[in-house]
């Protein structure tokens, strides 16, 4: 595997807050990454620093093995349209797409035209008069049609209706299979994007909580359901991230892969096993981390 992005001990401090706190990770080539986390977790800041739109307080970022800052060679291979992207005054969507065509060497005009039709984007209306969804569509179209080697999508679905969102996911996966490239998709609608992702990075309060392939993640946690006493016996000594009881039935989510032997034993004991949806896992882990931190602080 060859990493296209390497981040080491990245920290971004604003006057009073730490937006990104000693973050390290790598991004492999031609994979779809989910950069997941709550609003304000530091997703946009991380992507801004990777594309040299913002500056790190400390730490190091390498893209294609080089520092991206003022590096035209590196930057021209990346595309990052932010969620709150500003456009030139009085510019229309047609203007924005025409400009993007000038700057992205792999720009696909046919794809852009098709997407404009798909999203029913009014080309001649001024961007500042577009609806939130149409504004998002401009960014999505630029991101997809740029075919940049590394493309960042920053909460690309804001204001898009369910149909348009599905359209984006479908077009993304279709174009990705034809033209594999590295995609970083920041999102808090985890269930919607879960199926697209090959790798997941979860950030919370500026820190990386989780950095694993989607495959590993599926085995990462299991939910067991059954008689409370039996479940509790199974839980002892395990890392429990969630537990809830209703009468004599308890459901608990535990971290760590289960061996086939363990699975058989559990089934024999009458417990049901279920995979944990990505969204559940992320929510549980995030709350779990917050909980642990609070306990540490109290201690």
């Amino acid at each position: 595997m060859s990493p296209v992005i390497e981040v080491a001990h990245l920290t971004k401090r604003y006057r009073e807050t730490v937006a990104v706190d000693d973050v390290s990770f790598v991004v492999e080539k031609d994979t779809i990454y989910g950069l997941l986390g709550r609003n304000g977790a530091g997703k946009t800041t991380i992507m801004s620093i990777l594309t040299a739109q913002n500056f790190a307080t400390s730490g190091e970022v390498r893209v294609f093995g080089e520092s991206p800052y003022e590096n035209a060679h590196v930057l021209s291979r990346m595309c990052f349209v932010r969620e709150s992207q500003k456009y030139p005054d009085d510019a229309t969507a047609a203007h924005a797409l025409r400009i993007a065509r000038l700057f992205y060497p792999n720009w696909d005009q046919d794809l852009a035209d098709r997407l404009v039709e798909d999203f029913q984007l009014p080309l001649t209306r001024r961007i500042k008069k577009l609806s939130r969804g149409q504004l998002s569509a401009v960014g999505v179209i630029i991101g997809l049609a740029s075919r940049a080697e590394i493309t960042f999508f920053d909460e690309p679905y804001l204001g898009l209706d369910a149909v348009a969102r599905q359209l984006f996911y479908d077009r993304l996966i279709a174009d990705y299979s034809e033209h594999p490239r590295t995609i970083v998709l920041s999102s808090h609608l985890i269930d919607e994007v879960a199926a697209l992702l090959g790798h997941v990075i979860v950030v919370d309060r500026g820190r990386v909580l989780l950095d694993e392939s989607a495959e590993e993640l599926r085995e990462r946690a299991t939910t067991v359901l059954g008689d409370t006493a039996t479940v509790d016996r199974f839980l002892s000594g395990r890392d429990v991230i969630h537990r809830e009881s209703l009468g004599r039935v308890t459901s608990a989510t535990v971290l760590g892969a289960l061996s086939p032997l363990e699975r058989r034993e559990l089934a024999d004991a009458g417990l049901e096993l279920a995979a944990v949806p990505l969204q559940q896992l992320v929510v549980r882990l995030t709350l779990h981390a917050a909980d642990t931190e609070t306990r540490e602080v109290v201690r």
Binding site: F55, E70, N71, A72, Y87, D90, T92, L102, F103, A148
Partner: protein, 235 residues
């Protein structure tokens, strides 16, 4: 170089901003001042001479260039970042475009001064392009003067916008206040030292050409300062 030209084209992609609005302003200023001089001429029975006939309308377009300078930074810079353009390329491309626009405007003024003089101020003594003193020398002196003024105004807007973009409104306001105080201090100094005679003599000794060069020097200074600020600006 390719991407630098692309930045210039990016600034130009909406033709309204850089071409049609300035032309409209110039045309509008021309028509309004012509009408005023038409009234004066008909009331006096004769067109005013060129010295009295300069109507000052040529500066109308300049104010717009101040605005364009601000917008080139405040609105187009964030978009250039989304286009993965380095700050250096953005700066060079925008500078190239500003110089190009200044050259076009200077050429337009220089050319229009010819029929203006030939027709005695478009028949009514309305002089907009053949600005007294500025266009009295060789044609290229006037041309350079118009070019320098346009560029200076643009860079001034750009300079203010870079400071705003990087440091925010508090720092910008403080800086502008500081500058105003520095100018007042300078005036005080000149007054108390009784140097006004020398200052007047210095200005009298300037030609349109030397004034243009002074303005270009100031433009370069502001341009370098803008670049230093821009290098660490975020969209």
């Amino acid at each position: 170089m390719n991407r630098t030209l692309a930045v210039a084209r990016m600034q130009l992609v909406n033709k309204q901003t850089f071409i049609w609005v300035p032309l409209l302003i110039i045309a509008g200023a021309f028509v309004v001042s012509w009408l005023i001089y038409f009234i004066i001429t008909s009331a006096m029975g004769d067109a005013p001479a060129r010295g009295q006939g300069f109507n000052g309308a040529s500066q109308a377009a300049l104010w717009y260039f101040l605005v364009i300078g601000v917008q080139a930074m405040s609105l187009t810079f964030p978009f250039s970042q989304a286009m993965s353009v380095t700050r250096r390329t953005f700066y060079l491309g925008t500078g190239l475009l500003a110089a190009g626009t200044g050259a076009v405007l200077a050429t337009l003024y220089t050319l229009l001064a010819v029929p203006e003089l030939a027709t005695g101020g478009w028949g009514v003594g309305s002089y907009m392009f053949a600005v007294p003193w500025v266009t009295d020398g060789a044609w290229y002196e006037g041309w350079l003067f118009f070019f320098a003024v346009t560029l200076l105004v643009f860079v001034l807007g750009f300079w203010v916008a870079t400071i705003y973009k990087r440091f925010g409104s508090a720092v910008l306001t403080t800086l502008l206040m500081g500058l105003a105080l520095a100018i007042v201090a300078l005036i005080a100094l000149v007054t108390w030292q009784g140097w006004w005679g020398n200052v007047g003599a210095w200005f009298a000794a300037q030609t349109p050409l030397t004034m243009a060069l002074w303005m270009l020097a100031l433009t370069v200074a502001l341009g370098i300062s803008s670049y230093g600020t821009l290098r660490r600006a975020t969209p």
